[in-house]
Amino acid sequence: MSTAAPPHKAAPPRTAPARRGRLGGRLSNGAFALLLTAPGLALFATIIIYPLVSALFTGFFKQDLRLPGREFVGLENFAHWLDGDFLTILEQTMVFTVGATIVPFVIGFALALALNSGLKGSGFLRGLFLFPWVIPGVVISFLWMWIFNANYGVLNGILMKAGIIEESVSWLGQPGTAMLAVIITKTWASFPWMMVMLLAGLQTVPKELHEAAAMDGAGAVRRFFAVTWPQVRGVASIVLLLEFIWNFQHFDTIYVLTGGGPAGATETFATAVYQTAFKGFDIGRATALGGLWMLLLLLLVVVYIRITERKGDAR
């Protein structure tokens, strides 16, 4: 689990040594290794690959989720989105994705730096801060729904006591604030994860480097950019990219908090595809939008694999 390669990996044998025993005994090592992956691959094929491929085709048909049979309609479903809400949904998805990636990153990084600076009890604090990340997503949504509640919510209560607002704000009920509320909720759920990852990265920075830089007269800001940042850049880029990909397809928080509303103000690809399929029962249109969404996502995944690959991770 360490970041360094285990010593025996320095010169990996072509195959693990093995005597040909009974079960699978006549197989070559390669075939044996493939056999081991078979159950997993079977699952992937039925639960991921087949539905994905089928989704790509369904976009060209008119089909009701509740009924068998379908009718070929060519590009009509795609046209429906591209002439309609596609850009709005893309824009809102991007606002959510960027907001819910950058904000927890900044918070998580600040906390990681603080915990790495030798505070007393930082191990305990790290465990404590992980709490929001551990509790189930639906619970997180309920909790913040309650905090943002227009009539009895504690947020309105505190802001009014502090004299910041005059009367209760319906945070989730109006288009102007709903997206902000959703981003805050998602931020709360994911900053601990980013903190852990960045802290792990920071701990690989040799302390001597910092001390030496301080001796040479570098201030805190200078040391951050000259010493810390170059060392954690790799971790930071992967954390940002992963979080971006996850947020780009995030569903739970938005669905439970707002359902994509009010007036479609928090509609993202995930909620739009879901609602079109399971509320509108139009799976042709749902998968057409899903196809467009996948194209965008694919670009991100390729970048992600490139980066992990370059790190020599997928040995």
Binding site: G25, P39, F44, I47, L52, P136, V154, Q249
Partner: protein, 307 residues
Amino acid sequence: MTSTTSTTPLSGTGRHRTRTAPAGRTSRRRIRKDLLRSRIAAWSAVLVIGAFGMLPVYWLLATALSSPEQTFQFPPKLVPTDITFDNFTALAENEQLISYLVNSLIVASITAVLSVVVATYMGYSFSKFRYRGRRSLMHLVLASQMFPQALLLVTLYAVFSSFGLLNTYTALVLSFTTFTMPLCVWMLKGIFDTIPDALLEAASIDGASRWRTLHSVVAPLAAPGMIAAGLFAFVRGWNDFIFAVTLADKEKQTLPPGLVSTYIGEFQTAWPELMAASLVVSVPVVIAFMFLQRYLVGGMTAGSVKS
């Protein structure tokens, strides 16, 4: 920086003394000021983020322990004066909730076992063998974490529907397993990587078949990691919302969607009870996590972040 945070930071080590000697006192004073400033910055960050991180948790607890009358008054009392456990006893009497809880336990447990079995074989194959297509398979596993669940669900629903599997444990377990597997595979691969090949060679020389080596030599060594992977899968299954809400009806539904249908009313939500139920749902996860923390952090940093 730990070495410089002792109470007398300027007593200095030999190396420091020689290095700072020409610069003299100014530099030392500057470093001391610097250190103080970074300490203050660190504590302020911890306090501000701590408030953001912990106050909602406090509010979850406070609401769960409040009477309905106290909850529905505005502005809210930040410190509940009227503490009650009624919200928790109400849960224990709600049969529908108990059945959701049982479903959750069954589905999450089977998911955990299945994920570990499948991921053990796959992770072992990725770790100890070199063959054509291995890297592509590993990428497939990695990338499968990133397929949008909302899209998969649409056609998965149709697939399960045509096989008559909607509203069954099978549908939930199969779909959960698929999204718990990628991290399990990577966690276990990381663990198998630490088991020396020489051990496998020794087993083979002693006459063990490849299956036997895996089951009797490698698996026991990897057992702690397999338990960690299982806990992780359990937690993911326990927490899932989107698959459970779509693929199962009332009889087979798990707790997260069950809570939505029970408490999120059209007009008025029973907030204190919902917060109590939320706490109960979170408890197994928090306990599992205490055991898991070390592995999970290790697995995440090894599986997806390596610098």
